[in-house]
Symmetry: C2
């Protein structure tokens, strides 16, 4: 951030009065620009013990497999975001069965929330952001080709029959080179 | 948002190629500025069956009672944000006992997350954003003076012994005039 989006003046990186963190502040009109973590919402869709995964058609981690998920938008609920992303990425209409994981990734300022979901019928196809969409038996999960550690951990807990919700963090040493853009 | 924070050109409100939502876009350098929901993290601190509430010293809802909570910051976890806010608003050091409520407030694009917490000793005082901090017996909760509906609902569920976590939404008709700034 270089210039004020309200008055075009220069931005400075400083601690506002009464605050204890650096923020982007306008040098002319004194507006403070806050930047906060973003929520990624998604589902773990199950059809007859198989799990629906999407092969990513876009960066980051193009060509790797993920659970359907994406950034929550203003004005929607976490559940709505999870259902919408599942529809957009896999053309799949699922029924939610509860929040399963809430995983903070502090080094990229994201919170990933996955809901368990039932895929009532095996109807799905690749959305614009997916190269392929496929149902995987537990023994066939492509562990070495999973896009993000939050997906790996969510799948691992689910397949170990660990009842959720699970609330934890992913630290940089657990992270692969994903999610930075 | 009027001007591009990278190049000072005019901003337009339009749907980017490949997207389906209006975004703030630069008319010169084509940067897209995304705006996403923010997380408010807090605790429900309990000491010997009493609940710690803070009377707000700042807008919105100055003078009303709330659970200690505030905006999650970049680089921290949800738990860290909840503990930090409890320290800042009530000078109270608590131990977290699990995620209890995840409440989306779509009309203000916020997700409020409250963790159950134990206050090991009755040590607390008003932080900068609180006028008073006080332990309330369940029968003394000032229901008519609670700052935000997410706090009311979280307290109500807890006092009804409903095991969490609870994931739901607050709609505008349930909301009082809070949280809009």
């Amino acid at each position: 951030m270089k210039y004020c989006s309200q008055c075009r003046a220069d931005i400075t990186w400083a601690i506002p009065a009464g605050d204890n963190r650096h923020r982007n502040m306008c040098t002319a009109c004194d507006i403070i620009f806050y930047d906060n973590p973003r929520i990624v919402a998604g589902t773990l869709p199950v059809y007859q013990s198989k799990i629906l995964l999407c092969k990513r058609a876009i960066s980051p981690r193009k060509g790797y497999w993920t659970l359907p998920a994406g950034f929550m938008e203003n004005g929607e609920s976490t559940e709505h975001a999870a259902l919408r992303e599942t529809q957009e990425e896999a053309n799949a209409t699922v029924k939610l069965n509860g929040l399963y994981s809430v995983i903070t990734v502090p080094h990229i300022s994201q919170v990933h929330m996955f809901f368990l979901a039932e895929l009532p019928t095996p109807e799905y196809s690749s959305g614009e952001e997916s190269l392929e969409v496929e149902l995987f038996s537990p023994e066939d999960i492509p562990w070495d080709e999973i896009a993000f550690p939050t997906v790996t951990e969510t799948l691992r807990l689910f397949l170990a029959n660990q009842p959720g919700p699970h609330v934890f963090n992913i630290t940089p040493d657990m992270a692969i080179d994903a999610g930075h853009d």
